[in-house]
Amino acid sequence: MTRLRARAASRLRGGVVATLLLATAVTGGCTTESRLTAGGAPQRTSTVTVLAAASLTDPLTSLARQYERAHDGVTVALSFGSSTTLAQQVAEGAPADVVAFAGTPALDQLPKDATDQGGRATIARNTMEIATPPDNPGGVRSLADLARPDLDVVLCASTVPCGKAADMVLSRAGITPHVVSREVDVKATLAKVRLGEADAAVVYHSDVVSAGDTVKGVVIPTAQNTTLDYPLVWLNTKPDTTGFAELVRGTEGRAALTRAGFLAP
């Protein structure tokens, strides 16, 4: 997993590059980058380490940048991955100040005393949606279409929240799609659709929104859909930890999350 400085991450977006970075996030090791400050005046320099679900990549990146702009000398180090992996890393002692998960089950994997020092709040909700390439080569119009054997469908691995949610939606609808791959996280899943290698994927609504016009969304009706809560956990009460958590929970955070396609909690 590679930690990306918020600035760098936001600059490098778009199809292949994003795929590269996200895919590297799967394999690499952990590094914490320190930031050189420009000003000569004495400054508070500190780093807030944030581990977040891959689906939160865009809103948290822009919020981190916002926080850094407002607090000279503070670096918000971001790392995105599957919630399951992140929770495990925290449990194994990975340094983290703030974590944000897709779905609440990952909370169980955190150490029991994780929130003793800090606190937790739900920052957003998300629903599932079908993503297809912009030209929708498979002609997907509804969830029922996913049962067609000629469609190549990719899902998240059943071990990560987006995969669990997709499985739940599909099994409730009684649909067994022709799954060609179970990707390690939601961004990797979406990348396969963006590259046109798969005809459809069941991903978060927010991912469809943040992917812009590189994918087409096919809405899953509420009756068939499921909703995930996004918990934010701050693990200590250092000023920048709580400061950043408050930014995410506040109106600016809400606005960024809404823009990214998340629902209000």
Binding site: A23, V154, A157, V179, R182, V184, G196
Partner: protein, 277 residues
């Protein structure tokens, strides 16, 4: 010097030499020991942290056997293809001179240094449903390469073939060209001279290269997950299974890792006795 003086003089010299060697040895032993520890420790930790009581249960998981089977199948195919295609290439490179050969050699080393994930993306660009080759293939025949075992082999070949070619080229380069000169004067065509003289002489190098390529293919993760995806029984190789298992049940991942360790050691041991020293 008289005969009697020699042993007398030799003794202090020898002692001094041993002392000096002792100092040198210590200076070498410390970093050497550290090097061993850095490699051995994680392997040892795998053994120590394994949940031995449940290893068999973990390996009985329905996802495990297909993953190991797929890994063995694809890596074997990869090695066979690397030998069949890579040996002639290694030979041409070993006997080629000039700029073109240097460029080909440089091209071949790229996958060695390229992050495997980048290789996976490159493979998608080439063989994907909308890829340079994969696109027309899909349009004309409806053949989709990604998400298939073929894609796994392509990914493994991409990373392993260069290992093989570079190793074998080195072995073939060290085959004395005068053997081929002699073969030619005896009436052997270039092909016969290659197949009957150069090739047999390069066999140990080819075995070493094949072992290297196999090991690299077995460990292949990044290019596979990017290009071939992850689907149990079809494209989920053992390393991918380990990674996915890690999210569900870390102890199962440890058990699977142990199984891979055993398979690797067995294969390398089988090769070692015969060719790889």
């Amino acid at each position: 010097m008289t005969d009697a003086a020699e042993p007398m003089a030799a003794e202090p010299v020898a002692a001094g030499r041993i002392r000096a060697a002792g100092g040198t040895r210590l200076g070498l032993l410390a970093p050497a020991g550290l090097a061993v520890a850095l490699v051995a420790l994680p392997l040892l930790a795998l053994l120590l942290r394994a949940d031995w009581g449940h290893v068999l249960d973990h390996l009985a998981d329905p996802a495990v056997l297909p993953a190991i089977r797929l890994s063995l199948l694809t890596t074997t195919t990869t090695v066979v293809l690397a030998v069949v295609l890579g040996t002639p290439l290694a030979w041409l490179l070993a006997r080629a001179q000039g700029r073109a050969a240097a460029w080909f050699r440089a091209l071949l080393t790229v996958p060695l240094v390229l992050p495997p994930v980048v290789g996976g993306v490159a493979l998608l660009m080439a063989w994907g449903r909308r890829g340079v080759v994969g696109g027309p293939l899909y349009e004309a025949f409806g053949v989709r390469v990604p998400f298939t075992p073929v894609a796994v082999v392509l990914a493994e070949l991409f990373v392993a073939m260069p290992f093989y070619v570079i190793a074998v080229e080195g072995a073939m380069r060290s085959v004395d060209p005068r053997f081929e000169h002699v073969a030619a004067t005896l009436g052997a065509s270039p092909w016969r001279s290659f197949s009957r003289v150069a090739l047999p002489l390069a066999v140990p190098g080819m075995a070493a290269g094949a072992a290297l390529a196999w090991a690299r293919a077995l460990g292949e993760f990044g290019a596979t997950i990017t290009f071939a995806g992850n689907f149990a029984g079809r494209t989920q190789t053992a390393p991918l299974a380990v990674y996915v298992a890690l999210e569900r049940d870390p102890q199962a991942a440890v058990s699977l890792s142990l199984a891979m360790l055993v398979v690797s050691i067995v294969v390398l041991a089988l090769l070692r006795g015969r060719w790889v020293r």
